[in-house]
């Protein structure tokens, strides 16, 4: 199900930053030989890049929404890792982006519920 969403500036910036982290993670995972995970992270970053490129208003598919949620889960791991290493500022920064990605997911879910009515 494709839903048209209007993203705030904060949400678009969060998507851009998440895409950058996931792209870097994908490259690293490929280098250490975990191809499946590298492909998955690469796919999530591609979805986020497309959202950023489409500007304020973007069309998000059901699979694209799952990609955003998966990206948020991977960011949770990055956040926890930064936190464990006492790199608190980076951890807080990532946490804010997780919340913005979740906002997009919740809005997609709300709109999808209305669309089937």
């Amino acid at each position: 199900m494709e839903i048209s969403l209007t993203l705030t500036d904060d949400e678009r910036h969060a998507c851009r930053r998440a895409a950058a982290l996931l792209r870097a993670l994908s490259i690293g995972l490929r280098e250490i030989g975990t191809r499946q995970e590298a492909d998955a992270c690469g796919g999530y970053s591609t979805t986020l890049d497309a959202i950023v490129a489409s500007g304020e208003c973007c069309a998000v598919s059901s699979d694209g929404k799952v990609d955003i949620e998966q990206a948020g889960f991977i960011l949770e791991g990055i956040r926890d890792g930064l936190d464990n290493a006492d790199l608190d500022e980076g951890s807080d920064f990532v946490q804010r982006d997780i919340e913005r990605l979740n906002d997009v997911v919740f809005r997609y879910n709300s709109a999808a519920g209305k669309a089937v009515g």
């Binding site: 199900m1 059901s62 799952v66 949620e69 949770e76 926890d80 936190d83 919340e99 979740n102 906002d103 997911v105 919740f106 809005r107 879910n109 709300s110 999808a112 519920g113 209305k114 669309a115 089937v116 009515g117």
Partner: protein
């Protein structure tokens, strides 16, 4: 909670525990806290994984629920709503509901943490009206994503809107899933200030999905287990509630009792 056994090793055992508990309490309700069929909440996942365990007639006929994020991996959580039906789950358009529990003298509310829940959202407007018009004072609310948590996913800011309303209504209990462990918090305000007349939050993500460990220490967390599949048994009375966290070997790992919050007559 249910899915391929490799990643959901506890589902059959917790369903069996629920069946054993129902033998002594045939009128008990089962509250399923979301993410019932992994990984995408599809019709075939409900059929192949939920139905053989938690979907058996003795359990399914007593189950009320709230949706989780994995249920929404199928567009509009269509399989979830189709499987449980409107009286037990709501609808894709109105995915939150409440019901009075006359025997216990409590009010049960099921909310949806996977859609918009901000101050001006239809869900929060409904919640305010529902709380204002409820028949019984003591409140038990369920939604999927916890506000506070020491395990995987840690805290989620969004449900603060729910918690603000709960605290204003002096709600006693909130049950959440999402994180795969068990955790009990002291009654507290939405800003984590301890308050004996506040709302007590439980995380009961121990229904079957593989368990996850502690990520951090959270204020007011009174008890947490990251190593047992199990169920939370609640006994609700008009003037008090009792909780028991029971693992799949029938061992009670956490128990306690508390009076309901005081309310103006």
């Amino acid at each position: 909670m249910c899915g391929p056994p490799r990643k959901n090793p506890g589902a059959a055992a917790t369903a069996a525990l629920a069946s054993r508990l129902l033998l002594n309490h045939p009128d008990a309700m089962i509250l399923a806290l979301g993410d019932n069929a992994y990984n995408r909440g599809r019709v075939d996942e409900y059929r192949d994984h939920y139905t053989p365990t938690w979907g058996q007639p003795d359990l399914l006929g007593r189950t009320w629920c709230c949706p989780g994020n994995h249920d929404y991996r199928t567009a509009a959580a269509a399989a979830y709503f189709g499987y449980f039906g409107e009286p037990r789950a709501g609808t894709p358009q109105r995915s939150y509901y409440s019901l009075p529990l006359p025997e216990a003298g409590w009010h049960l509310i099921s909310l949806n943490s996977e859609i918009e829940q901000d101050a001006h959202s239809p869900q929060l407007r409904w919640l305010r009206e529902d709380l204002a018009s409820r028949r019984f004072g003591p409140i038990l609310a369920i939604w999927h994503r916890p506000r506070w948590g020491s395990g995987a996913h840690r805290d989620s800011k969004k449900p603060r809107w729910f918690l603000n309303e709960m605290y204003a209504a002096r709600a006693e209990l909130v049950l959440n899933g999402h994180a795969h462990h068990y955790e009990r918090f002291a009654p507290q305000r939405p800003d984590q200030i301890p308050d004996p007349q506040g709302t007590r939050q439980f995380i009961v993500g121990t229904g079957g999905r593989k368990l996850a460990g502690r990520r951090k220490d959270t204020p007011n967390s009174e008890y947490a287990r990251f190593d047992h599949f199990g169920l939370l048994k609640l006994t609700l009375r008009p003037d008090s509630y009792r909780w028991e966290f029971i693992n799949v070997d029938d061992r009670v790992l956490d128990t306690g009792e508390q009076p309901v919050n005081s309310r103006e007559k």
